[in-house]
């Protein structure tokens, strides 16, 4: 078997023996920036929200800051008017009343049905498990609540995120979630719309994934 062959070659080359514990690894380097202590909690959260939304806009995404769930619902209703959409099973979307908007399909638990539906609708609506303010990133963990394809197959993606799930950045994500693999088979970080610059370095959006992304921060 090549397994033994390769491991043996490695060990011989680097001077280790089977089962030998590893040397001391460099300590983990996680630097979570501390928020401005002079600000109130609410002000800190709003600072994150505005950084997040500004970053998404810089990536050519659309944004909306909704004061209440109803506000979010009204925004989404206007955004999907005349179009078809599929919503994930995220409880937060139901709480906002987005899942039962006219023209929205939701509650799909079967893979084939989901694939069929996502291939035909105009918009995929999801929540997000976290968001990263300093890069304008959505963090999506695959689960019965969030399928992978909803943020991938339709040409447009709308993510509705409660403000308190907006983290400062990658470091905070990895300090909260040191091993996402224990929770899910797939965690994806989404930073802006799908893009390519493979032809003459000219930026084109929406080559395989959604070309339009909208982030709605709620609360």
């Amino acid at each position: 078997m090549s397994r033994e062959h390769i491991l043996h070659r490695i060990r011989t080359a680097i001077g280790r023996s089977a089962g030998q514990p590893p040397g001391v690894a460099p300590p983990v380097r996680i630097r979570v920036p501390s928020d401005d202590a002079t600000l109130s909690v609410a002000a800190r959260v709003s600072a994150r929200v505005s950084t997040m939304l500004a970053r998404v806009e810089a990536l050519a995404g659309k944004t909306y800051s909704a004061a209440t769930p109803d506000d979010a619902r009204a925004f989404i209703a206007a955004a999907i008017a005349g179009k078809t959409a599929v919503a994930s099973n995220a409880p937060f979307l139901a709480e906002c009343g987005i899942s039962n908007l006219p023209g929205v399909r939701t509650g799909i638990a079967d893979r084939e049905q989901l694939r069929e539906c996502c291939s035909t609708v105009d918009i995929g609506i999801t929540s997000a498990d976290y968001a990263l303010a300093d890069t304008g990133t959505l963090v999506m963990l695959s689960s019965p609540r969030e399928a992978r394809l909803i943020s991938l197959l339709p040409p447009a993606h709308i993510a509705v995120v409660p403000r308190e799930r907006i983290l400062s950045g990658l470091d905070e994500l990895f300090s909260i979630l040191p091993k996402a693999a224990e929770l899910t088979s797939s965690m994806v970080l989404i930073t802006g719309p799908s893009r390519t610059a493979d032809i003459e370095q000219i930026l084109v959006r929406g080559v395989h994934g959604p070309g339009e992304i909208t982030v709605v921060a709620v609360g």
Partner: protein, 459 residues
């Protein structure tokens, strides 16, 4: 220098359009990188580089441990790890699985590792359809070319080239607007994603403590490749393993910035195992191929094994004054630029293209921009020394073999022997270059005025 290498370099230099394309594309990528790692954009850039280097060094020095840890965790999540020595083992594995599962269409997302083992050709040879889905790679696959650049594979193609390729291969109308070309590719490839039975990707990182494969991309084709088909196979070099998921906080900040100047690429996927019981979508089977293909040959030398730290960001290509003139296809193997110049001789042997480590001015720009701090100029020097040693050894062998053959011929032909003896006694043999060089360091017993055979015959 081999004639092919020489010819390709001169062809590239003589092609003004190509020169402009390389210069503009690499220049743009280079500037974006510079902006994104500047002190105001990323204040702890140098610290991150130092940490990335330390992590890679540690991972390589304990490689067997982390591979086994990775394997255990992949299996704990229901995936399977397959170790492969070389390209034959990889294609045998993929072919075997495809046959067992009755799969005839495979989608692939961009992977330098699969280029290295010529996977597409091997699969096609056995009647499987393997489709590249990264836009640049797709263009090249249709045009039957190798990637020109690690990150921007179709950098040398103009929109007109692409229009002509699509027209010819996809039978669509001639179309030169990049948005429209992308839409054509999106349409064709979307159907392939939905029909394919297997999705093959590479891996940017393998995370030992999570059993996760990390994929970084902008288009979404890697996400589709790993989500739509029922089987996902990731093919990764053994050097891709890093100890902890938390270490990605370091690597992810460096990779996209060094490659394209983005803070993060559009999609970063952490995939571990097939979909879990309650999850709605995702593959049913998950395999990770751990590929050696020459990598273990780099491990014994402490100085040279740093070549395995590479995270394939291509920053060294964009900054290299040599790459920016001679381009990607001049390089003899799939990896081009400074990183190609150090890994090609080590994977393929120094005689594969002996001139390669010399095709550098040793300006050091590559080492300056390398996010994991590989000392490329130092490795180039070490390789130059290897090339010279091999050449000397070979030359010496040739000369030695030749002289023994001549000696044998002389000793088996009495007349030649007599004649040679006469020359030695009467001719200026000691003044001939090589003989003089030899005798300058050694004493030769004085040649007798008369040979034994002369004395014997006159007896």
């Amino acid at each position: 220098m081999s004639a092919v290498f020489d010819k390709k370099i001169h062809q590239t230099l003589a092609d003004a359009n190509l020169q402009l394309a390389i210069y503009t594309a690499t220049g743009r990528l280079k500037d974006k990188r510079t902006e994104s790692v500047a002190a105001d954009a990323l204040p702890d850039y140098q610290e991150l580089r130092t940490q990335a280097n330390a992590l890679k060094k540690h991972a390589i020095e304990n490689l067997d441990y982390y591979l086994e840890e990775f394997e255990r965790n992949v299996e704990a999540h229901g995936g399977k790890v397959v170790y492969c020595k070389d390209s034959t083992e990889v294609s045998d594995f993929v072919l075997g699985l495809a046959k067992e599962r009755g799969v005839s269409l495979i989608v692939k997302s961009k992977s330098m590792t699969s280029e290295e083992v010529d996977l597409n050709e091997r699969l096609e040879h056995h009647g499987l359809e393997a489709v590249e889905t990264d836009l640049g790679e797709y263009i090249l696959q249709l045009g039957r070319e190798r990637p020109y650049h690690i990150v921007a594979p179709a950098l040398h193609k103009t929109r007109f080239d692409v229009a002509a390729i699509f027209e010819k291969e996809l039978h669509v109308a001639y179309e030169t607007v990049p948005e429209k070309l992308s839409q054509i590719a999106r349409g064709v490839l979307r159907q392939k994603f939905l029909d394919a039975g297997i999705g093959i990707t590479g891996a940017n990182f393998l995370v030992a403590d999570s059993g996760a494969v990390v994929l970084v991309e902008n288009e979404g084709n890697a996400r589709l490749t790993t989500t739509a088909p029922r089987i996902h196979i990731a093919i990764a070099g053994i050097e891709k393993v890093i100890p902890r998921a938390q270490d990605l906080a370091v690597f992810l900040k460096l990779l996209a910035r060094s490659a394209t100047g983005q803070a993060l690429s559009v999609y970063t996927s952490f995939l571990s195992g097939p979909r879990r019981a309650s999850e709605i979508d995702g593959p049913d089977e998950f395999y990770v191929v751990l590929l050696d293909n020459g990598r273990t040959k780099l491990l014994p030398s402490r100085a040279k094994r740093q070549s395995l730290y590479c995270i394939r960001c291509a920053a060294c290509l964009n900054t290299c004054p040599v790459y920016r003139k001679i381009g990607g296809h001049s390089f003899p193997w799939v990896y081009s630029g400074p990183i190609g110049a150090i890994i090609t001789p080590q994977f393929m042997g120094v005689s594969y293209e002996p001139a390669l480590p010399f095709a550098s001015s040793l300006c050091g720009a590559c080492a300056e921009v390398c996010p994991v701090k590989i000392d490329i100029p130092q490795v180039l020097l070490d390789l130059r020394s290897d090339v010279k040693k091999a050449e000397t050894r070979e030359k010496k062998n040739r000369l030695e073999k030749l002289s023994y053959r001549m000696f044998a011929w002389m000793m088996t032909h009495p007349r030649v022997y007599a004649w040679a003896g006469w020359i030695a006694r009467h001719g200026p043999v000691l003044n001939i270059g090589p003989v003089r060089a030899w005798t300058s360091q050694r004493d030769l017993p004085p040649i007798p005025r008369q040979s034994f055979r002369d004395i014997w015959s006159r007896r």
